[in-house]
């Protein structure tokens, strides 16, 4: 549909100092339930932002509106300087065409709590699908890159296994590799360790740590792993009832929170 990959000029334009993600006045309600209320949020290129907050606070919805899985009711979102849901029109903006959304979306990737691997394909096929079908890479090229990625998440041996034959932690590592194969500038991680058995969490966090160390990818993570947040995050955002409660460096938010709501949330998390 869109030309394979956004053109080089697109990428150059958006690379110049624009925020990786800029949300302005984003509203989202499900029925009478207001999940995001005039949310403003900026994420700098290469920044690693961890979003914490009680369940039902809307933190997952932040990721979902950026991934276009939910459409916001109001407000604007820019990714790499380009409007996601709008197109320039005269001196203002108009709602974006599907094609425009698809073009901007190529900068975004997401890893899900429940992996969402395609069960009828092998691990390698899962990873190769988008590079071949979306980016027009040759199968050989995609396979080579896919094997590289599988190797980097420690699963080269599982290339020809289907998701049904893999453990939860392995599935999640394949899912991360699949998302990386698209080379997104912004990666969204939605509670990626919450569905895993405790002993499998470590391997997945290790992979995330490696992506963070490379520093190329902007990361937004929703997680309950506070230790991991402290270690990896540049900034922690405490989110509740559709709005940012407070934000700052991990040490400040996790150790000396100013807000009562943050304190009680952290207290509740630590007890478990």
């Amino acid at each position: 549909m869109s030309a394979p990959e956004t053109t080089a000029t697109d990428r150059d334009i958006s690379a110049k100092g624009a925020a990786a993600v800029r949300m302005r006045g984003v509203d989202k309600a499900f029925g009478p339930n207001k999940v995001l209320a005039e949310l403003d949020l900026d994420v700098e290129p290469g920044e690693r932002v961890v979003i914490i907050g009680p369940s039902g606070s809307g933190k997952t919805t932040i990721l979902r509106v950026i991934m276009t899985l939910e459409r916001p009711d109001a407000g604007t979102i820019q990714v790499g300087g380009r409007h996601l849901y709008h197109q320039p029109h005269g001196n203002g903006l108009k709602p974006a065409s599907e094609k425009h959304i698809r073009s901007v979306r190529s900068d975004i990737g997401m890893v899900f709590q429940h992996f969402n691997l395609f069960p009828h394909m092998t691990a390698l096929e899962n990873i190769m699908l988008a590079p071949v079908k979306v980016h027009g890479k040759s199968r050989d090229e995609a396979r080579a890159r896919g094997m590289e990625l599988l190797d980097s998440v420690g699963l080269a041996h599982a290339a020809n296994q289907t998701p049904g034959q893999l453990s939860g932690g392995q599935k999640q590592r394949v899912a991360i590799a699949r998302s990386l194969a698209n080379e997104p500038r912004v990666m969204l991680f939605d509670e990626v360790t919450s569905a895993l058995d405790p002993e499998l969490v470590g391997d997945v966090l290790e992979v995330l740590r490696r992506i963070a160390e490379e520093g190329k990818t902007t990361m937004m993570l929703v997680t309950h792993e506070m230790g991991f947040a402290r270690e990896v995050a540049d900034r922690v955002v405490m989110f509740d009832a559709g709005a940012v409660v407070e934000e700052g460096p991990p040490a400040q938010i996790l150790d000396e929170p100013r807000e009562e709501r943050t304190r009680s949330f952290l207290g509740a998390v630590r007890e478990h």
Partner: protein
């Protein structure tokens, strides 16, 4: 489209129309031509000796239908080229051609009906050409609906249905004026006995002067429609059974609609649908003897004939039963094998 970059230098918007200065001039010329020719045909030309004034409709009807075929062919060709080349131009061309084809098909159907009344004495006959044109019109409307689907979860189901069956498309349409007739039709067909439908079709064909269907045609059409309504529901259920996470992963990987449907959704939906489709296949086969009552010479008919001539009541029927088993058991077995072959390890 004019794009005046406002902030953060957004890229030029991709082409969404086939317009260029040349086509604008051509368009203006065509508009003038249409008015001129319309005036010549509808006002200036003399009435026909036999058809009188209604002949004028022919001047609209025939070109409309001719160009409808050209537009439909162009749309098909452009769609094919888009699938091969993936350049936006082909997609836009297909969309534009389909829009023109939709208008012309509607125009052709209406003018044809209005012209048919004074000339043939009827507005409409269900002959092959008219019926297929009507179906084409519905398909084109479906195509338009499809092109405008918003990429939201509800819309998937709408998309989904098309791939199964046209009926399922209307069934899931977000527009209730489109959906309602389909729902009513599907529910009506599914909720009335096949036997009654056969009798009705037979009576209708007998009473109609224009419809000259043979008994076997009646049987095939009635059985076909009857089971198509069941199949459309099976497809719908199969597509709905693909978990939401799969759709979301397809979006997150930025897969296009073709890849999403052909590589992700249908490979998971079809194994779910297969058992039902297999059942329908066998059931439709077993219903074939109903053709007996509308005079189709099928197996039961022969058994009856043999009984009449040989005066042996049981043997011919037993043989007929064996004949059915000889086909339906391998068919059921083949479907089961297919299911097993297509099944995959679920997560």
């Amino acid at each position: 489209m004019t794009t005046t970059p406002t902030e953060a230098s957004p890229p030029a918007a991709p082409a969404t129309s086939t317009a260029s200065p040349l086509t604008r001039v051509l368009g203006a010329l065509s508009a003038v031509g249409v008015v001129l020719v319309g005036w010549l045909g509808l006002v200036a030309s003399p009435p026909d000796v036999v058809q009188q004034d209604s002949v004028r409709l022919i001047y609209v009807h025939v070109p409309a239908v001719t160009w409808m075929y050209v537009a439909v062919f162009l749309c098909a060709f452009a769609s094919f080229m888009w699938l091969r080349k993936r350049t936006d131009g082909w997609d836009v061309l297909a969309a534009s051609a389909a829009e023109i084809a939709t208008v012309l098909t509607g125009l052709g159907l209406i003018t044809g009906a209005v012209w048919g009344r004074p000339t043939w004495g009827v507005y409409w006959v269900w002959d092959a050409r008219l019926t297929s044109t009507a179906i084409l019109f519905v398909l084109l409307l479906g195509y338009q609906a499809l092109r405008r689907y918003p990429a939201e979860p509800q819309a998937r189901s709408r998309m989904a249905a098309v791939l199964g069956l046209l009926l399922a498309l209307g069934r899931r349409s977000g527009n209730r004026f489109v959906r309602w007739p389909f729902v009513a039709f599907i529910e009506f067909i599914r909720s009335t006995p096949l036997l009654v439908q056969l009798f009705f079709a037979q009576a209708y064909v007998r009473a109609s002067d224009s419809l000259t269907w043979s008994p076997i045609t009646i049987l095939v059409v009635v059985l076909g429609i009857h089971y198509a309504t069941y199949c459309s529901e099976a497809y719908r259920a199969g597509i709905n059974s693909v978990p939401p996470g799969q759709w979301e992963a397809a979006t997150a990987l930025n897969l296009g609609p073709t890849t999403k449907w052909l590589r992700v959704i249908l490979p998971q939906a079809i194994p779910n649908v297969l058992p039902s489709l297999g059942n329908f296949l066998v059931a439709a086969f077993k219903d074939a003897p109903l053709g007996f009552i509308v005079g189709v010479p099928e197996l039961l008919f022969f058994a009856n004939t043999v009984r009449g001539s040989d005066f042996r009541p049981t043997e011919p029927y037993i043989l007929a039963g064996v004949g059915f088993l000889l086909v339906s058991i391998p068919a059921a077995w083949a479907v089961r094998r297919l299911e097993r072959k297509i099944a995959y390890e679920r997560t």
